[in-house]
Symmetry: C2
Subunit: 138 residues, 2 copies
Amino acid sequence: MSASTKLSTSVKALCYLSENDKPKNSSEIAEHIGINASKIRMLLSKLGKSGIVRSDSGMRGGFSLAKDPENIHLQEIYCAIEDRKAFYLNVNNTKSKGNTSSDRINLFFLDLFSEVQIEIENKMTDITLKSILNKIKQ
Amino acid sequence: MSASTKLSTSVKALCYLSENDKPKNSSEIAEHIGINASKIRMLLSKLGKSGIVRSDSGMRGGFSLAKDPENIHLQEIYCAIEDRKAFYLNVNNTKSKGNTSSDRINLFFLDLFSEVQIEIENKMTDITLKSILNKIKQ
DNA sequence: ATAATTGTTATACTAAGTATAACAATTAGA
DNA sequence: TCTAATTGTTATACTTAGTATAACAATTAT
């Protein structure tokens, strides 16, 4: 599952949870989104560790939002489900970490991609689950 | 080869060509960059079709820059070597292209990613091969 | 003719992504 | 205490994308 797909899938699950007071189990969420229940559990388990959702094991268990939608930021969701930086881009890393022209071009691109990275992070920090809910509701 | 690796590899090749008046063949370029000659030919062939490099077949053939470094933009290089849009991100596309909440969330992310896309393109349009050469030379 | 070269296709292999299943651990309720 | 429902995690099988290289027809200078 690509980083961007994980992100959109997580948001779908969180939007669904926001519509319900009672906990929803992974099968219900999975069916609503159209994705496998194991996968949704893997994602929501991570969101649980970051304190975005609450999960209860056992009978009558399930998932529910642990915070208000206006206090859940896209950036926070992303960090919860992904280890590496958002939309990480690579350069062809040469063996030498010296100072050849190839090394310096790699550095140039790493800097450029890192700038892009920061811009994306800033953009995501400004977006809350609440604002997404407002945009998508009709 | 990922989009970002193709881009950095192409720039390495173009920088190398800019240092030389005489055409360089794929073996020389490949050895300088530390990559397979076939691969470099695949990339430079595309850059040739976009008029960024000139390629001559046959004995004493090879590759050379077809334009001044100040007239070669990163965006142009990217478009030459890549069909799809830069750093394309996906959402989990549901079967229905209807108007379910999942569909609307997909649209939200497609819009967001498209904004990011435009910002990256603008950034790349401002960067010329000449400016990269200046930055990396010592 | 010959040798060097590009442009393109093909091959073999590895890594990443996708979809799903399996099951121990946990918990509510009979 | 037993049972059924549930999470959290690991495992499996399969498909797709990425990586590295080779092969060879077409082209061209000598």
